[in-house]
């Protein structure tokens, strides 16, 4: 059974410095050769600094540990699917910024599924502020635990 008491639970705030090497590596990994990620001069001229790719906040995984995670709902990683991901990008995030993120369990519920059996949905919402205290982004992940491993 999904433990509804987890809803609203937050992790400890975590710090996430925005670094150029990580931004470059991420841009390469998503096959985006845009020079704003690779040439600081171009980036400065066009964006006022080196910007981050739209989905870059996924790299928060490197800065979070067990204490900053609000919990994985006891999910079995062999049966986890990433169902949805949603980013609200409220203000620019540039290399040199230091973000503080707080993750919380926004929702946890069950649904009868198809080929995977009963499915449990966990929605984790992470709010990011920059070093000036401005809210810069909200990332929302929906993870699904299937009743059994989904066959291809």
């Amino acid at each position: 059974m999904a433990d509804k008491s987890m809803i609203g639970k937050t992790g400890k705030p975590f710090t996430m410095p925005i670094e150029w090497s990580k931004v470059r590596e991420f841009a390469r990994a998503i096959k985006d050769p845009n020079p704003v990620y690779f040439d600081p001069e171009v980036a400065k001229r066009e964006c006022g600094g080196i910007p981050v790719p739209v989905t870059f906040l996924q790299t928060a995984a490197f800065w979070q540990d067990d204490s900053s995670s609000p919990g994985m709902g006891g999910f079995d990683i062999r049966r986890i699917l990433h169902g949805e991901q949603d980013f609200e990008l409220l203000k620019p995030i540039l290399v040199g910024d230091t973000l503080t993120g707080v993750a919380k369990v926004a929702d946890l519920y069950e649904k009868e599924g198809g080929r995977g059996g009963k499915m449990t949905f966990l929605v984790v919402e992470t709010e990011y502020k920059n070093q000036k205290g401005e809210k810069v982004a909200i990332a929302r992940s929906t993870l699904i635990e299937t009743g059994q491993a989904v066959k291809a």
Partner: protein, 140 residues
């Protein structure tokens, strides 16, 4: 980056131009794992996936979402995306050809910005959707 699109010139129904990746590879998934910190072994560990009853490794949903985000920023410009939302459907396997594309579905002004909204999708070579998504982006 200055917005690439002029609000007045964008019409509902306009296409976000296709961006095609010709055959994604296991090294692509490994590179994305290292870049993102997503080390779920389903995406690179053959022994692990077989134990889970899956024939081979498959792409991180967020790898494919990254390809889709690049398709969008090529259209609207870097720094112009205000919302990017994706829902994962079918899996992307090594060798799949991934086509990212989209369509403008609306225009609005909010919080002093000229915004367009639209649908996005990443489809495989069989035309099956790996991702269905939506976006909001700012225009000049």
């Amino acid at each position: 980056m200055p917005a690439k699109l002029k609000f007045e010139q964008v019409k509902v129904g306009d296409s976000v131009p296709d961006s095609v990746t010709n055959g994604v590879t296991r090294p692509d998934f490994v590179r994305y794992a290292g870049a993102s910190g997503d080390f779920v072994p389903l995406h690179y560990d053959q022994t692990f996936v077989e134990m889970a009853g899956i024939p081979t490794v498959f792409a991180q949903g967020m790898f494919t979402a990254g390809l889709l985000s690049k398709c969008l920023t090529d259209y609207v410009g870097i720094g112009q995306v205000r919302r990017f939302k994706v829902r994962f459907a079918t899996r992307v396997w090594p060798g799949d050809v991934v086509t990212c594309r989209g369509k403008v579905t609306g225009k609005k002004e909010a919080a002093g910005e000229k915004l367009i909204e639209g649908d996005l999708e990443a489809v495989n070579q069989k035309g099956e959707a790996a991702i269905k998504g939506s976006f909001v982006a700012a225009c000049a």
